[in-house]
Amino acid sequence: MSDAVILPIETVTTKVGSPAARMAANPSVVTGLLLVGAVVAIALLAPLLAPHDPYAQDLTRRLIPPIWHDKGVWFNPLGTDNLGRDYLSRVLYGARISLLIGLSVMVISGLIGTALGLAAGYFGGRTDLVISFVITARLAMPVVLVALAVVAMIGGSLPVVILTLGLLKWDRFAVVMRSATQQVRSLDYVTAAEAAGASRSRIVLGEILPNVFPHLIVVATVEAGSAILLEAALSFLGLGVQPPLPSWGLMIAEAKNLMFFSFWLIAIPGTALALLVLGINLLGDGLRDVFAPDGRS
């Protein structure tokens, strides 16, 4: 091409820095990552960090208060519970249960909801009608009540809680993915991909999914946080994880009768739970800001 004009290289920069750099500059992301990272580290390293076996009972050492209390002893830095189990060890191991629940429920409900939402948004028409009906039907069910009923019938255990919540909590994924897909599918680059001979699966997975992924991450974090809280609620009601597993919700439940005498028994797992969920939500919020598609739309 002799008459083609060779343009000098010029870069239109709409966002400063790479995604990683933008994350590092976002206080929500940093705080959230620190909190979640700390809990993950605790969960992974629990056997190394815990001073005692979280299941070992010692009825002679019941209800020792934490170290900042007058009667606290370094042998049990966070004291002991009603059965004389070391509270620090139980809180550390409890991080594993909460994270396991949050992650598994997020993955199960995320897969279901994303598949439904993508299909409804992409195919539209009758498919959308059917899936929208399923979503509406699901939204009409109160999650806590259904979960309570299911767990009460089958019996509470970790796998049952995870499956029940996973099969119940896909609604927000589906709703968000559906509307995000609807927006993206009418964009020119999807038509352009069709015009370039791309197959349907290639268009859904290669063109649409990467562009709705930021929405997916935000919903996923929010849902993980809410699943952790729901597990705590179920365990508190005695229908979630069963004793003697050190779940934070269960620990709060076991301590509720002693609330006025041994306040730390509720305060410590409650704080751990609040910090983890706060961290996850901050992370989700921050990621949404980082991914906000102003320069990429």
């Binding site: 091409m1 002799s2 008459d3 083609a4 004009v5 060779i6 343009l7 000098p8 290289i9 010029e10 870069t11 239109v12 920069t13 709409t14 966002k15 539209g124 028409g125 964009l187 020119d188 680059y189 038509t191 352009a192 991909a193 069709e194 015009a195 370039a196 001979g197 791309a198 197959s199 290639r202 290669g206 063109e207 990467p210 562009n211 992924f213 598609p293 320069g295 990429r296 739309s297």
Partner: protein, 338 residues
């Protein structure tokens, strides 16, 4: 030029209709359009917004929205029937032997992938080529469409490129698999005037060099004058005049074409301070059938006969128009088009 009249048509469209379901009734966006595009020639579809020219291109590419239905007596690409082809057969042609360039370069590239990813993918899909080979071709073509430092560009995302550069990338992507036909739907409308000229020159040059058949959809007669071999003027979903570009500009016959031309300033003819022409009225509703000439409500030569079926008149072997009047009679009635 359309000199190679004997050369086989790459694209044949015969009696193509597109109907869109609307709550108000069927909207006939395209009504019995016929034309062909031969190897190495540039054919333009011209008309105002809503005249069905984009619907025609989407119908050819099988990209119509779900509410639209396509009917054609013949719709063939390189002799192969498109109307009855399966989705897989169409997908094997699209992006491979027939490519499309869209109007909006700002949104026609996927923001989630780099330029390189998108160029390479098309080639790998259709040519089953390796990554290195496809990449080499991408670098080659980016250079060909006038993009400096193509290797660096491959690693960039669409939002890092300007509109003109993106349209060059779109052209390179259309060329990746060495297509026989390129359909360009208003490829320069979203660009500013200087870039428009560059892109047009680029398209015309590539088309000549590679011998591609180019179907260009535009509303801009200036573009038609620059690069078209043959022109089809569309109005209300139908072709009202067809001619070679030279004939059309030398002797526009249909009142609509003449109206369009009178809206343009002509260097040396239009004097400073004089008003440009306008076409009064609006395009008729395309919902339901249209009897007779669709342009009659806006035509200064309209008469009773316009409401009946309108004959096709021949100004020359290659120049046809659809009007009740012979153009000579109209001239006698008094040229208003200066």
């Amino acid at each position: 030029m359309a000199s190679a009249a004997a050369s086989a048509a790459v694209l044949e469209v015969e009696d193509l209709s597109v109907t869109i379901r609307t709550p108000a009734g069927p909207l006939h966006a395209v009504r019995g359009v016929s034309f062909d595009v031969r190897r190495g020639e540039t054919v333009c579809l011209v008309g105002e917004s809503g005249c069905g020219k984009s619907m025609t291109s989407l119908a050819i590419m099988s990209l119509l929205p779900e509410t639209a239905t396509r009917r054609a007596r013949r719709l063939a690409f390189a002799g192969a029937d498109l109307a009855g082809a399966t989705g897989a057969e169409i997908n094997a042609l699209r992006g491979n032997r027939m490519a499309m360039i869209f109007q909006e370069p700002m949104t026609a590239l996927n923001p989630a992938w780099t330029i390189g990813d998108q160029l390479v993918e098309v080639h790998r899909r259709h040519k089953r080529s390796g990554r290195a080979e496809a990449r080499e071709r991408a670098v080659d073509l980016l250079g060909k469409v006038g993009i400096a430092s193509p290797v660096e560009r491959l690693g960039q995302y669409p939002h890092q490129l300007s509109g003109g550069l993106r349209q060059r990338v779109m052209i390179a992507m259309a060329l990746m698999c060495g297509p026989d036909l390129i359909i360009a739907d208003e490829p320069t409308t979203a660009l500013d005037v200087t870039i428009q000229a560059q892109i047009l020159r680029l398209l015309a040059g590539l088309q000549r060099e590679l011998g591609i058949a180019l179907l260009l959809i535009t509303h801009d007669l200036g573009i038609v004058a620059r690069i078209a071999d043959r022109v089809h003027v569309m109005y209300a979903g139908a072709i009202v005049e067809r001619a070679t570009a030279a004939e059309l500009f030398a002797r526009p016959c249909h009142p609509y074409t003449r109206g369009l031309l009178s809206c343009l300033p002509a260097p040396g003819v239009t004097e400073a301070g004089t008003r440009l022409g306008t076409i009064p009225g609006v395009v008729p509703s395309l919902i339901g059938g249209i009897e007779g000439c669709a342009f009659r409500s806006r035509c200064e030569h309209a008469r009773a006969g316009c409401a009946q079926a309108v004959p096709v008149r021949r100004a020359s072997a290659t120049h046809h128009y659809v009007c009740v009047e012979e153009v000579a009679e109209m001239a006698a009635l008094g040229e208003a088009t200066a």
